[in-house]
Protein backbone atom coordinates (compact mmCIF):
# COMPACT_ATOMS: atom_id res chain seq x y z
CA UNK A 1 0.00 0.00 0.00
CA UNK A 2 1.29 3.38 -0.96
CA UNK A 3 1.07 6.09 1.67
CA UNK A 4 0.83 9.61 0.44
CA UNK A 5 1.68 12.55 2.75
CA UNK A 6 -0.81 15.24 1.93
CA UNK A 7 0.61 17.82 4.35
CA UNK A 8 2.31 20.82 2.89
CA UNK A 9 6.10 20.47 2.82
CA UNK A 10 6.75 22.93 5.72
CA UNK A 11 4.49 20.86 7.98
CA UNK A 12 5.81 17.54 7.00
CA UNK A 13 7.90 15.72 9.67
CA UNK A 14 11.59 16.09 8.83
CA UNK A 15 14.40 13.70 9.65
CA UNK A 16 17.36 14.68 11.84
CA UNK A 17 19.15 17.56 10.24
CA UNK A 18 22.29 19.18 11.48
CA UNK A 19 22.14 22.90 11.69
CA UNK A 20 25.37 24.69 12.55
CA UNK A 21 25.02 26.91 15.59
CA UNK A 22 28.20 29.02 16.19
CA UNK A 23 27.34 29.73 19.78
CA UNK A 24 26.84 26.08 20.54
CA UNK A 25 30.05 25.24 18.71
CA UNK A 26 31.90 27.86 20.73
CA UNK A 27 30.43 26.47 23.87
CA UNK A 28 31.46 22.91 22.99
CA UNK A 29 34.93 24.10 21.99
CA UNK A 30 35.33 26.07 25.21
CA UNK A 31 34.17 23.09 27.22
CA UNK A 32 36.63 20.81 25.45
CA UNK A 33 39.44 23.25 26.11
CA UNK A 34 38.48 23.40 29.75
CA UNK A 35 38.53 19.62 29.91
CA UNK A 36 41.99 19.53 28.36
CA UNK A 37 43.33 22.16 30.74
CA UNK A 38 41.67 20.39 33.66
CA UNK A 39 43.26 17.14 32.57
CA UNK A 40 46.65 18.90 32.45
CA UNK A 41 46.10 20.34 35.89
CA UNK A 42 45.16 16.97 37.33
CA UNK A 43 48.16 15.34 35.63
CA UNK A 44 50.43 17.95 37.19
CA UNK A 45 48.98 17.23 40.60
CA UNK A 46 49.61 13.56 40.05
CA UNK A 47 53.15 14.30 38.93
CA UNK A 48 53.73 16.41 42.02
CA UNK A 49 52.56 13.58 44.25
CA UNK A 50 54.79 11.14 42.35
CA UNK A 51 57.71 13.54 42.60
CA UNK A 52 57.20 13.86 46.35
CA UNK A 53 57.26 10.07 46.65
CA UNK A 54 60.45 9.91 44.57
CA UNK A 55 62.00 12.63 46.72
CA UNK A 56 61.11 10.74 49.88
CA UNK A 57 62.67 7.56 48.44
CA UNK A 58 65.80 9.41 47.33
CA UNK A 59 66.16 11.09 50.70
CA UNK A 60 65.86 7.74 52.42
CA UNK A 61 68.44 6.28 50.05
CA UNK A 62 70.69 9.30 50.57
CA UNK A 63 70.51 8.85 54.33
CA UNK A 64 71.45 5.20 54.01
CA UNK A 65 74.30 5.95 51.59
CA UNK A 66 75.52 8.80 53.77
CA UNK A 67 75.67 6.47 56.74
CA UNK A 68 77.66 3.92 54.70
CA UNK A 69 79.93 6.63 53.32
CA UNK A 70 80.49 7.96 56.83
CA UNK A 71 81.87 4.58 57.86
CA UNK A 72 84.24 4.64 54.88
CA UNK A 73 85.25 8.24 55.63
CA UNK A 74 85.97 7.34 59.23
CA UNK A 75 88.05 4.39 58.08
CA UNK A 76 89.79 6.64 55.60
CA UNK A 77 90.68 9.04 58.40
CA UNK A 78 92.32 6.10 60.14
CA UNK A 79 94.75 5.77 57.23
CA UNK A 80 96.38 9.06 58.16
CA UNK A 81 96.66 7.91 61.78
CA UNK A 82 98.07 4.54 60.74
CA UNK A 83 100.55 6.14 58.35
CA UNK A 84 101.68 8.53 61.06
CA UNK A 85 102.08 5.66 63.48
CA UNK A 86 103.89 3.54 60.92
CA UNK A 87 106.20 6.41 60.00
CA UNK A 88 106.92 7.10 63.65
CA UNK A 89 107.60 3.43 64.29
CA UNK A 90 109.76 2.96 61.21
CA UNK A 91 111.53 6.22 61.99
CA UNK A 92 112.46 4.81 65.38
CA UNK A 93 113.50 1.44 64.00
CA UNK A 94 115.37 3.18 61.21
CA UNK A 95 117.49 5.06 63.73
CA UNK A 96 119.25 1.86 64.61
CA UNK A 97 122.92 2.02 63.82
CA UNK A 98 124.87 -1.23 63.79
CA UNK A 99 128.16 -1.24 65.63
CA UNK A 100 129.38 -4.83 65.79
CA UNK A 101 130.71 -4.88 62.25
CA UNK A 102 132.03 -1.34 62.56
CA UNK A 103 134.08 -2.21 65.63
CA UNK A 104 135.23 -5.42 63.95
CA UNK A 105 136.37 -3.52 60.85
CA UNK A 106 138.00 -0.94 63.07
CA UNK A 107 140.01 -3.52 64.96
CA UNK A 108 141.12 -5.11 61.67
CA UNK A 109 142.11 -1.69 60.39
CA UNK A 110 144.34 -0.70 63.27
CA UNK A 111 145.99 -4.11 63.53
CA UNK A 112 146.57 -4.35 59.79
CA UNK A 113 149.28 -3.08 57.52
CA UNK A 114 150.05 0.64 57.12
CA UNK A 115 151.20 2.32 53.96
CA UNK A 116 154.37 3.42 55.81
CA UNK A 117 156.15 0.53 57.52
CA UNK A 118 157.83 0.86 60.87
CA UNK A 119 155.03 1.67 63.31
CA UNK A 120 152.13 0.09 65.10
CA UNK A 121 148.94 1.54 66.48
CA UNK A 122 147.19 0.66 69.69
CA UNK A 123 143.72 1.84 70.62
CA UNK A 124 142.82 3.46 73.92
CA UNK A 125 139.40 4.39 75.17
CA UNK A 126 136.66 4.13 72.60
CA UNK A 127 133.44 6.08 73.03
CA UNK A 128 130.48 5.80 70.74
CA UNK A 129 127.63 8.19 71.33
CA UNK A 130 124.46 9.22 69.64
CA UNK A 131 124.33 12.74 68.21
CA UNK A 132 120.83 14.21 68.36
CA UNK A 133 119.57 15.30 64.98
CA UNK A 134 116.68 17.51 64.14
CA UNK A 135 113.63 15.59 63.14
CA UNK A 136 111.86 16.45 59.98
CA UNK A 137 108.17 15.89 59.41
CA UNK A 138 107.41 12.23 60.03
CA UNK A 139 110.61 11.47 61.90
CA UNK A 140 114.35 11.67 61.55
CA UNK A 141 115.81 10.81 58.20
CA UNK A 142 119.40 11.01 59.29
CA UNK A 143 121.14 9.42 62.23
CA UNK A 144 124.53 10.58 63.42
CA UNK A 145 126.91 9.08 65.90
CA UNK A 146 130.20 10.16 67.29
CA UNK A 147 133.10 7.69 67.23
CA UNK A 148 135.84 8.97 69.53
CA UNK A 149 138.94 7.04 70.40
CA UNK A 150 142.41 7.57 71.70
CA UNK A 151 145.29 6.22 69.68
CA UNK A 152 148.92 5.57 70.42
CA UNK A 153 151.37 5.28 67.53
CA UNK A 154 154.61 3.56 68.36
CA UNK A 155 157.27 4.01 65.67
CA UNK A 156 160.81 2.92 65.19
CA UNK A 157 162.35 6.21 64.03
CA UNK A 158 161.94 9.51 65.80
CA UNK A 159 162.34 11.57 62.61
CA UNK A 160 159.52 9.74 60.88
CA UNK A 161 156.75 10.51 63.32
CA UNK A 162 155.16 12.83 60.74
CA UNK A 163 155.26 10.06 58.15
CA UNK A 164 153.66 7.67 60.61
CA UNK A 165 150.83 10.10 61.35
CA UNK A 166 150.31 10.76 57.66
CA UNK A 167 150.31 7.05 56.86
CA UNK A 168 147.97 6.39 59.79
CA UNK A 169 145.29 8.76 58.50
CA UNK A 170 145.77 8.01 54.79
CA UNK A 171 145.62 4.25 55.29
CA UNK A 172 142.44 4.56 57.33
CA UNK A 173 140.86 6.86 54.74
CA UNK A 174 141.58 4.44 51.90
CA UNK A 175 140.72 1.32 53.87
CA UNK A 176 137.43 -0.61 53.86
CA UNK A 177 136.62 0.47 57.39
CA UNK A 178 136.24 4.13 56.49
CA UNK A 179 134.60 3.53 53.12
CA UNK A 180 132.03 0.96 54.17
CA UNK A 181 130.90 2.20 57.56
CA UNK A 182 129.39 5.54 56.62
CA UNK A 183 131.97 7.85 58.15
CA UNK A 184 131.85 11.37 56.81
CA UNK A 185 134.56 13.83 55.87
CA UNK A 186 138.17 12.66 56.32
CA UNK A 187 139.85 10.90 59.23
CA UNK A 188 142.24 13.78 59.87
CA UNK A 189 139.71 16.59 59.61
CA UNK A 190 139.75 17.15 63.34
CA UNK A 191 143.41 16.37 63.81
CA UNK A 192 144.92 19.29 65.70
CA UNK A 193 148.59 18.30 65.92
CA UNK A 194 150.62 16.21 68.32
CA UNK A 195 153.81 16.11 70.35
CA UNK A 196 155.91 13.03 69.56
CA UNK A 197 158.10 11.85 72.42
CA UNK A 198 161.02 9.54 72.28
CA UNK A 199 161.08 6.75 74.78
CA UNK A 200 164.72 5.78 75.22
CA UNK A 201 163.79 2.74 77.32
CA UNK A 202 162.13 0.97 74.40
CA UNK A 203 163.83 3.06 71.75
CA UNK A 204 160.58 4.02 70.15
CA UNK A 205 158.89 7.27 69.29
CA UNK A 206 155.37 7.55 70.71
CA UNK A 207 152.63 9.76 69.31
CA UNK A 208 149.42 9.95 71.27
CA UNK A 209 146.23 11.61 70.23
CA UNK A 210 142.53 11.35 69.87
CA UNK A 211 140.08 11.52 67.01
CA UNK A 212 136.42 12.30 66.85
CA UNK A 213 134.81 10.87 63.78
CA UNK A 214 131.19 11.06 62.76
CA UNK A 215 129.18 8.31 61.26
CA UNK A 216 125.96 9.03 59.39
CA UNK A 217 123.15 6.76 58.45
CA UNK A 218 120.20 7.72 56.30
CA UNK A 219 116.97 6.38 57.65
CA UNK A 220 115.77 4.73 54.47
CA UNK A 221 112.41 3.77 55.95
CA UNK A 222 111.36 7.36 55.72
CA UNK A 223 111.63 7.27 51.98
CA UNK A 224 108.36 6.56 50.29
CA UNK A 225 107.79 3.07 49.03
CA UNK A 226 110.40 1.45 51.25
CA UNK A 227 108.92 -1.08 53.61
CA UNK A 228 110.14 -2.16 56.97
CA UNK A 229 112.80 -4.80 56.98
CA UNK A 230 111.60 -8.21 58.05
CA UNK A 231 114.60 -8.81 60.20
CA UNK A 232 117.30 -6.55 61.47
Amino acid sequence: MILINLLPPELRKRGAEFQFNPIMAGGVGGLALCVVVLFGFLWLRGELATANDILADKNTELEAKTAQAKVVTERQALIADFEKRRDTLFGLLGRKMYWARTIDEFSKQITGEWSQPGFKVSAGDLTISDIPTEKRAGGADEVRASFRWRYKIVGEENQKSGDYINSFFKTIEKGPFWASQGFISKPDDRYDGDRPRWNPGIKRVIVEGGVDWQRVKLSEFMKKGVKTPRGN
Binding site: L55, Q68, Q76, W99, T127, N232
Partner: protein
Protein backbone atom coordinates in the same frame (compact mmCIF):
# COMPACT_ATOMS: atom_id res chain seq x y z
CA UNK B 1 14.99 21.49 33.69
CA UNK B 2 14.38 24.52 31.65
CA UNK B 3 16.09 26.72 34.27
CA UNK B 4 19.61 27.72 33.21
CA UNK B 5 19.23 26.58 29.63
CA UNK B 6 15.97 28.47 29.22
CA UNK B 7 17.55 31.47 30.87
CA UNK B 8 20.51 31.17 28.49
CA UNK B 9 18.16 30.89 25.50
CA UNK B 10 16.25 33.88 26.71
CA UNK B 11 19.41 35.97 26.59
CA UNK B 12 20.31 38.01 23.61
CA UNK B 13 22.62 36.43 21.14
CA UNK B 14 25.40 38.87 22.03
CA UNK B 15 25.11 38.02 25.68
CA UNK B 16 25.15 34.34 24.80
CA UNK B 17 28.38 34.79 22.85
CA UNK B 18 29.91 36.68 25.73
CA UNK B 19 29.10 33.88 28.14
CA UNK B 20 30.28 31.16 25.77
CA UNK B 21 33.65 32.89 25.41
CA UNK B 22 34.16 34.32 28.88
CA UNK B 23 33.28 31.32 31.05
CA UNK B 24 35.75 28.88 29.46
CA UNK B 25 38.38 31.60 29.43
CA UNK B 26 37.89 32.22 33.14
CA UNK B 27 38.00 28.51 33.89
CA UNK B 28 41.12 28.09 31.77
CA UNK B 29 42.74 31.12 33.38
CA UNK B 30 42.00 29.74 36.82
CA UNK B 31 43.32 26.30 35.95
CA UNK B 32 46.35 27.88 34.25
CA UNK B 33 47.12 29.89 37.34
CA UNK B 34 46.84 26.84 39.55
CA UNK B 35 48.91 24.79 37.10
CA UNK B 36 51.62 27.45 37.05
CA UNK B 37 51.81 27.16 40.79
CA UNK B 38 52.07 23.39 40.51
CA UNK B 39 54.86 23.76 37.95
CA UNK B 40 56.75 25.91 40.43
CA UNK B 41 56.33 23.24 43.10
CA UNK B 42 57.26 20.50 40.66
CA UNK B 43 60.42 22.11 39.29
CA UNK B 44 62.41 20.72 36.37
CA UNK B 45 60.48 17.50 35.86
CA UNK B 46 62.13 15.64 32.98
CA UNK B 47 58.68 14.63 31.68
CA UNK B 48 57.80 18.25 31.02
CA UNK B 49 58.93 20.19 27.96
CA UNK B 50 61.78 22.56 28.72
CA UNK B 51 59.65 25.71 28.48
CA UNK B 52 57.41 24.45 31.28
CA UNK B 53 60.27 23.48 33.62
CA UNK B 54 60.60 26.04 36.38
CA UNK B 55 63.56 26.36 38.72
CA UNK B 56 63.36 25.08 42.27
CA UNK B 57 60.64 22.72 43.37
CA UNK B 58 60.63 19.06 44.22
CA UNK B 59 62.62 17.93 41.20
CA UNK B 60 65.49 20.25 42.11
CA UNK B 61 65.57 18.51 45.49
CA UNK B 62 65.38 15.13 43.77
CA UNK B 63 68.29 16.02 41.49
CA UNK B 64 70.29 17.29 44.47
CA UNK B 65 69.53 14.05 46.31
CA UNK B 66 70.59 12.00 43.27
CA UNK B 67 73.84 13.94 43.07
CA UNK B 68 74.34 13.46 46.78
CA UNK B 69 73.74 9.72 46.42
CA UNK B 70 76.24 9.57 43.56
CA UNK B 71 78.80 11.41 45.66
CA UNK B 72 78.25 9.07 48.62
CA UNK B 73 78.41 6.03 46.34
CA UNK B 74 81.74 7.26 45.02
CA UNK B 75 83.00 7.37 48.60
CA UNK B 76 81.51 3.94 49.35
CA UNK B 77 83.19 2.58 46.22
CA UNK B 78 86.58 3.46 47.71
CA UNK B 79 85.75 1.27 50.71
CA UNK B 80 87.61 -1.84 49.52
CA UNK B 81 90.69 0.20 48.68
CA UNK B 82 90.54 1.92 52.06
CA UNK B 83 90.23 -1.43 53.82
CA UNK B 84 93.08 -2.89 51.79
CA UNK B 85 95.29 0.09 52.63
CA UNK B 86 94.37 -0.13 56.31
CA UNK B 87 95.18 -3.82 56.35
CA UNK B 88 98.49 -3.22 54.63
CA UNK B 89 99.41 -0.50 57.14
CA UNK B 90 98.13 -2.55 60.04
CA UNK B 91 100.22 -5.53 58.94
CA UNK B 92 103.31 -3.36 58.64
CA UNK B 93 102.72 -1.85 62.08
CA UNK B 94 102.03 -5.24 63.64
CA UNK B 95 105.14 -6.69 62.08
CA UNK B 96 107.27 -3.85 63.39
CA UNK B 97 105.58 -3.78 66.79
CA UNK B 98 106.15 -7.47 67.29
CA UNK B 99 109.80 -6.56 67.58
CA UNK B 100 109.10 -4.12 70.40
CA UNK B 101 108.48 -5.37 73.91
CA UNK B 102 105.33 -4.74 75.85
CA UNK B 103 105.66 -2.55 78.89
CA UNK B 104 105.19 -5.63 81.02
CA UNK B 105 108.10 -7.36 79.30
CA UNK B 106 110.83 -5.05 80.53
CA UNK B 107 112.20 -7.65 82.86
CA UNK B 108 112.16 -10.24 80.09
CA UNK B 109 114.27 -7.97 77.94
CA UNK B 110 116.62 -7.44 80.82
CA UNK B 111 116.85 -11.21 81.16
CA UNK B 112 117.44 -11.52 77.43
CA UNK B 113 120.30 -9.01 77.58
CA UNK B 114 121.95 -11.04 80.29
CA UNK B 115 121.30 -14.34 78.53
CA UNK B 116 122.85 -13.12 75.30
CA UNK B 117 126.03 -12.33 77.19
CA UNK B 118 126.09 -15.77 78.74
CA UNK B 119 125.39 -17.46 75.42
CA UNK B 120 128.62 -16.25 73.86
CA UNK B 121 130.60 -19.38 73.17
CA UNK B 122 134.08 -19.36 74.78
CA UNK B 123 135.44 -20.46 71.42
CA UNK B 124 134.28 -17.14 69.95
CA UNK B 125 135.31 -14.86 72.78
CA UNK B 126 134.91 -14.01 76.42
CA UNK B 127 132.16 -11.93 77.94
CA UNK B 128 131.40 -11.49 81.61
CA UNK B 129 128.08 -9.92 82.39
CA UNK B 130 128.30 -7.52 85.29
CA UNK B 131 125.25 -5.34 85.70
CA UNK B 132 122.22 -3.88 84.05
CA UNK B 133 120.10 -0.94 85.07
CA UNK B 134 116.78 0.01 83.52
CA UNK B 135 116.18 3.68 82.83
CA UNK B 136 112.75 4.55 81.58
CA UNK B 137 112.54 7.48 79.25
CA UNK B 138 109.45 8.82 80.98
CA UNK B 139 106.17 9.34 79.22
CA UNK B 140 106.51 12.18 76.77
CA UNK B 141 103.19 13.68 75.79
CA UNK B 142 102.33 13.03 72.17
CA UNK B 143 104.83 10.22 71.74
CA UNK B 144 103.31 6.81 71.25
CA UNK B 145 106.55 4.92 71.65
CA UNK B 146 108.48 5.48 74.83
CA UNK B 147 112.14 4.58 75.04
CA UNK B 148 113.51 2.25 77.66
CA UNK B 149 117.25 2.28 78.16
CA UNK B 150 119.19 -0.60 79.64
CA UNK B 151 122.57 0.46 80.96
CA UNK B 152 124.70 -2.64 80.62
CA UNK B 153 128.10 -3.26 82.04
CA UNK B 154 130.21 -6.15 80.79
CA UNK B 155 133.83 -7.18 80.66
CA UNK B 156 135.12 -9.01 77.65
CA UNK B 157 137.81 -9.48 75.09
CA UNK B 158 137.38 -7.79 71.74
CA UNK B 159 135.93 -10.79 69.92
CA UNK B 160 133.48 -11.56 72.70
CA UNK B 161 132.40 -7.94 72.95
CA UNK B 162 131.84 -7.69 69.21
CA UNK B 163 129.91 -10.96 69.21
CA UNK B 164 127.77 -9.74 72.10
CA UNK B 165 126.96 -6.46 70.39
CA UNK B 166 126.17 -8.38 67.21
CA UNK B 167 123.78 -10.71 69.01
CA UNK B 168 121.97 -7.74 70.52
CA UNK B 169 121.71 -5.94 67.21
CA UNK B 170 120.51 -9.00 65.34
CA UNK B 171 118.02 -10.17 67.91
CA UNK B 172 114.40 -10.37 66.80
CA UNK B 173 113.55 -8.02 69.65
CA UNK B 174 114.39 -4.50 68.62
CA UNK B 175 117.40 -3.33 70.59
CA UNK B 176 119.95 -0.80 69.52
CA UNK B 177 123.27 0.12 71.03
CA UNK B 178 123.02 3.86 71.45
CA UNK B 179 126.09 4.72 73.50
CA UNK B 180 129.13 2.62 74.19
CA UNK B 181 132.34 3.13 76.12
CA UNK B 182 135.20 0.68 75.91
CA UNK B 183 138.16 0.91 78.25
CA UNK B 184 140.91 -1.42 77.07
CA UNK B 185 142.09 -3.95 79.61
CA UNK B 186 145.51 -3.44 81.11
CA UNK B 187 148.45 -5.39 79.74
CA UNK B 188 150.37 -7.40 82.32
CA UNK B 189 153.31 -9.75 82.12
CA UNK B 190 152.63 -13.32 83.12
CA UNK B 191 155.73 -14.32 85.03
CA UNK B 192 155.28 -18.04 84.48
CA UNK B 193 154.82 -18.00 80.75
CA UNK B 194 156.70 -14.74 80.24
CA UNK B 195 153.90 -13.57 77.99
CA UNK B 196 151.97 -10.32 77.86
CA UNK B 197 148.44 -10.94 79.02
CA UNK B 198 145.61 -8.53 78.25
CA UNK B 199 142.90 -8.09 80.83
CA UNK B 200 139.31 -7.95 79.70
CA UNK B 201 138.00 -4.67 78.33
CA UNK B 202 135.50 -2.81 80.46
CA UNK B 203 132.48 -2.06 78.34
CA UNK B 204 129.53 0.12 79.29
CA UNK B 205 126.72 0.47 76.83
CA UNK B 206 123.25 1.81 76.60
CA UNK B 207 120.81 -0.48 74.85
CA UNK B 208 117.59 1.22 73.84
CA UNK B 209 114.25 -0.25 72.93
CA UNK B 210 110.76 1.20 72.77
CA UNK B 211 107.36 0.30 74.17
CA UNK B 212 104.06 1.36 72.70
CA UNK B 213 102.12 3.36 75.27
CA UNK B 214 99.41 5.18 73.34
CA UNK B 215 96.86 2.42 73.56
CA UNK B 216 96.28 -1.17 74.45
CA UNK B 217 98.63 -3.18 72.31
CA UNK B 218 97.15 -6.43 71.12
CA UNK B 219 99.73 -8.94 70.28
CA UNK B 220 100.89 -12.30 71.33
CA UNK B 221 104.15 -12.81 73.01
Amino acid sequence: MAGPLAAFNALEKRQQITIVVAVPLLIIALLGYLSWGLLAKLGPDPKLPAFLQRPGGVWTDINAAVEGIAAQEAIIATGPQVEARLKELSDEIDLAEQRLPLEAEKTEVRQLIEKLARDISPSLGRVEFKAVRIIEGGVVKGQEYQPITYQVEIAGDLNGTIKYIDSIEKNTRFMMVKNLTLHPGALTLDAESARVVAALHQVNMEIVTYVYTAGQKKKGK
